[in-house]
């Protein structure tokens, strides 16, 4: 393990590069299949209608933007530029993609991380409450909560939260990015589906481990129920959640799009939403690479942490 670990990490980084390239390429192909003419989109964003230009002007413009080359040539040029950190310029906003994304990422990262912390805390609270309660009724009610959490659509939850906590009670702002209060509602919106999924998994894992031979033997060896749970159940039952947590990173982007659109936050989610509706190809492509990168990175971290918690796994 000790000797092979650097190689393992190197291998994983190699994989990550491959994944990023694949994401970039697939995204490029799909966006090129769209019926829209990129030049038309580009000009439209600058307030010019492509219909008002003559063929010569169009040809000149095409050449300027590098759109006259074949799709493969274009792709290679873009890929080479991307490798140097140049993801092109946004059609609609006229800014280079990379700085644009960089300027938006911090606020999204803040609510995403907060949402993750809240989701994990809620899920564990639910699992502990369910495992410690003596009442069958409470147990069943707690067991139903994750299902409800997963069933309600996020945008509906967001609107409901806004109605109650902004408009009726006036505790938190319904939009904007000023102060910590503006973080609360978007965070809760994003945390609910994640915590529901984690909670569901933790509930069933807690039960399964608690009934497993190792827990029964620990009980027979004189541990109280609480001690069995703290010493044996929590760790063993949490392992599957760690894997799921890594996979949930992909959902975070979706969650951010919904939360930021509804609560009018100028974050990455809103940027993606606008870029997609306006077919702002370079921005979408940059966002996809970022999402893929985040996904790969988080899962690498999860895989590196896993052996620390479960000695049976070696890397």
């Amino acid at each position: 393990m000790r000797t092979s670990k650097p190689w393992y990490v190197l291998g994983r980084i190699g994989q990550a590069v491959l994944v990023l390239w694949a994401a970039y390429t697939v995204c490029y192909i799909i966006l090129n299949l769209l019926p829209a003419d990129p030049l038309a989109l580009l000009l439209q964003a600058k307030g010019t209608d492509i219909g008002s230009l003559n063929a010569d002007q169009i040809a000149t413009l095409r050449h300027t933007y590098g759109l006259d080359a074949g799709p493969v040539q274009q792709y290679l040029t873009m890929l080479l530029a991307a490798l140097h950190g140049d993801f092109g310029t946004s059609y609609t906003l006229g800014q280079p993609v990379l700085p644009l994304i960089a300027s938006r990422v911090s606020s999204t990262l803040a609510i995403s991380l907060l949402a993750l912390v809240v989701a994990v805390a809620l899920a564990f609270a639910l699992a502990f409450a369910a495992v410690f309660t003596r009442s069958r009724v409470i147990r069943n009610v707690l067991g139903a909560i994750p299902v409800i959490g997963m069933s309600v659509p996020s945008f509906w939850v967001a609107l409901l939260l806004m109605q109650v906590f902004s408009f009726s009670l006036g505790w938190f702002p319904s939009m904007g990015m000023q102060g910590w209060k503006s973080l609360v509602l978007p965070t809760v919106t994003m945390a609910i589906p994640t915590s529901a999924l984690l909670g569901q998994l933790l509930l069933s894992e807690f039960d399964a481990v608690l009934e497993s031979p190792q827990a029964v033997v620990a009980k027979a060896h004189g541990l109280s129920r609480t001690q069995v749970i703290l010493h044996h159940v929590v760790k063993n039952a949490s392992l599957p959640s760690l894997t799921i947590l890594g996979l949930l990173v992909g959902d975070t982007f979706t969650g951010a799009i919904i939360a930021e659109t509804i609560f009018a936050r100028q974050g990455l989610g809103m940027l993606i939403q606008q870029a997609v509706t306006q077919q702002d190809v370079p921005v979408v492509q940059g966002a996809v690479v970022l999402a893929a990168g985040a996904f790969v990175l988080v899962n690498l971290i999860v895989d590196l942490i896993y052996p620390l918690l479960d000695p049976r796994i070696r890397i």
Binding site: Q214, S224, P311
Partner: protein, 576 residues
């Protein structure tokens, strides 16, 4: 029952554990099932009591009742007196107290009974801190002391290992160490060796014996093997269907069993079957020996007519990146072996047509790999396997599929090998459908015929596997294997998951079928007593190498190799 009868051993010390009219029922949604009915027995201080019975006899339920680890669905009646106070009336606090001061527990399956995320030392330390309130260096010293008592060679080193780095036998030793924490007076063991290899079984039972004697503990042990009980207990309680059939001192039960069921259990015990076979083998052995040697010489000729033949087969597995195979013996520092692991090492072996070849070995010996190679499921690095003259190793695709008409497999776990969602009739028809045999009507006739052939009632055809017992499921699996009229059956531990009395029935069925249909069997097993009943030839495998082979009478009565001798000596109650 009166107190006089419960304190059974005449003039012995007062009972440490006194179970009086115990009744345990499990409530399911629809009905209540009595797992234990009117059970009365006692365990005196320093006495060793064994409860013997088949699965479903309620013996494990008694253990769980005594430990207070019954599931919530269970209700109890009667009395379980420990030092005179009734455990069935104890609250959580009192139960904790009992488990921490008086009773130690050794569970059945060491593989699943330890926390995989903690080292042996940490788990043991946790219990010691709880029960003996030690800390720091004193705690560490106690951990090492207990591991030493449980039979670990290098306690300090072992304490730092995780369960998955230890063999089954060592895990069970770790659990024995855990059971000794707090110096209990009563040790409760639930089939402590049934999940282990025979040679390891003996070591573990010896170790428990030693500890019980040295510390003067009382032992309550559950087992399905009457010979184990006879070897290791002062008194035996025989149970069936939740009730006590008979109980008495071990010598009395063995010498004069009063109930038919006890006699059945005794006859089904491995040692007894082995002795019978040896006796039969010995009488014929003088003649058989010379004959056997000739047969061995003739074996080379016979290979041309062999049903199955392995020729110089070597199979290696490359361990995954970073994966290690821990040495289970010697210094066991978890030392890594080479990156490849040789599962089968240059084995040449043939199974004679119309007879049974038994391949015997412990877990990890490579016997299952040999089987997989003959079935074409694994490709060996060197050598090849031949079934009915077809080179399975070189053949592939359509030709291999065609060759598979002539041989079939019966697996170890009858529940796992049958699709739980299908009816028995469609399970048995599977091979017929796969090989497009006959039309619908003829298939139905064939299935009915097969079910009858394996002595199952016709009404099981519409049942699902879960409605059948383990023995019945194995009969279904045999019927399925016979559906396309193969001439060779591969039997992978076909009876090891079954109760002893059921084992004999399945073995008898297999012998009948072989006789009637002229089948060739390759029978993989770790159980020598089963071998004595069914096999004609025996091949003994250790660490992937063929250490000994020959006619069954010779190998079991005059084993040539040390390993075979050790296997034979490990059978509980053998040559008493």
């Amino acid at each position: 029952m009166t107190e006089a009868t419960t304190a059974a051993p005449a003039g012995a010390q007062p009972a440490l554990l006194d179970v009086v009219d115990l009744r345990v029922s499990y409530a399911s949604r629809r009905r209540t099932v009595d797992a234990v009915r009117d059970v009365t027995f006692a365990v005196a201080q320093g006495e060793r009591v064994a409860i013997v019975g088949e699965s479903g006899s309620g013996k494990s339920t008694i253990i769980r009742t005594v430990l207070g680890i019954l599931p919530d669905s269970a209700t109890t009646a009667g009395q379980v007196l420990l030092d005179g106070s009734d455990l069935l009336k104890a609250d959580d606090r009192q139960w904790l107290d009992v488990r921490r001061t008086t009773i130690g527990f050794i569970p059945q399956d060491p593989q699943t009974s330890l926390d995989p995320t903690l080292t042996i030392g940490r788990q043991l330390g946790l219990i010691i801190r709880l029960k003996e309130h030690l800390d720091g260096d004193a705690l560490q010293a106690r951990v090492e002391q207990l591991l030493g008592e449980a039979g670990f060679d290098k306690p300090a080193l072992r304490a730092r290992q995780y369960p998955h780095e230890l063999s089954g036998g060592l895990k069970q030793r770790a659990l024995i160490a855990e059971s000794l924490v707090g110096n209990p007076r009563l040790l409760v063991a639930d089939e402590p060796t049934s999940a282990l290899d025979v040679t390891v079984q003996k070591e573990i039972l010896d170790r428990i014996d030693e500890l019980v004697r040295a510390k003067g503990l009382a032992l309550l042990m559950v087992t399905h093997d009457l010979a184990v009980a006879a070897d290791r207990a002062d008194r035996i309680v025989v149970m069936r269907n939740g009730e006590i059939v008979e109980q008495g001192t071990a010598s009395a039960i063995i010498a004069h069993p009063r109930q038919r069921y006890t006699i059945d259990l005794f006859e089904a015990a491995p040692a007894h079957r082995l002795d019978e076979a040896s006796a039969a083998g010995a009488s014929a052995s003088a003649a058989a020996d010379t004959e056997a040697e000739e047969a061995d010489d003739a074996a080379t000729d016979a290979t041309r007519n062999a049903a199955v033949r392995w020729h110089g087969v070597t199979k290696q597995f490359t361990l995954r990146h970073g994966q290690t195979r821990t040495a289970t013996t010697a210094d066991g520092s978890g030392a890594r072996e080479s990156r490849t692991f040789t599962a089968v090492d240059d084995v040449t072996l043939s199974a004679p047509r119309g007879e049974t070849l038994a391949i015997v070995g412990e877990s990890g010996s490579g016997k299952s790999t040999l089987l997989k190679i003959a079935l074409g499921l694994e490709k060996p690095e060197h050598g090849y396997a031949e079934v009915n003259g077809v080179n399975i190793t070189k053949t592939g695709g359509r030709a291999l599929r065609e060759a598979r008409r002539t041989f079939q497999l019966v697996q170890q776990n009858p529940f796992g090998s049958l699709d739980p969602t299908k009816k028995i009739s469609s399970i048995v028809a599977e091979p017929l459908n796969a090989f497009h045999e006959g039309d619908r009507a003829s298939r139905r006739r064939r299935v009915a015929e097969l079910i009858d052939r394996v002595a199952l009632p016709a009404n099981v055809l519409d049942a699902k596997p879960k409605e059948l017992s383990g023995g019945q499921c194995q009969r279904v699996a045999i019927a399925r294997a016979l559906a396309i009229r193969p001439n060779t059956l591969f039997l992978d531990e076909p009876v090891s998951a079954l109760d002893v009395t059921v084992q004999s029935q399945i073995i008898d069925l297999l012998i009948d079928l072989q006789h009637d249909l002229g089948l060739s069997y390759v029978f993989v097993t770790h159980d020598l007593s089963v071998v004595s009943q069914i096999a004609h030839r025996v091949a003994v495998i250790e660490h992937g190498r063929l250490v000994e082979q020959g006619p069954v009478g010779r190998v079991l009565t005059h084993p040539a190799h040390d390993y075979t001798k050790r296997l034979l000596a490990s059978v509980p109650g053998h040559h008493r």
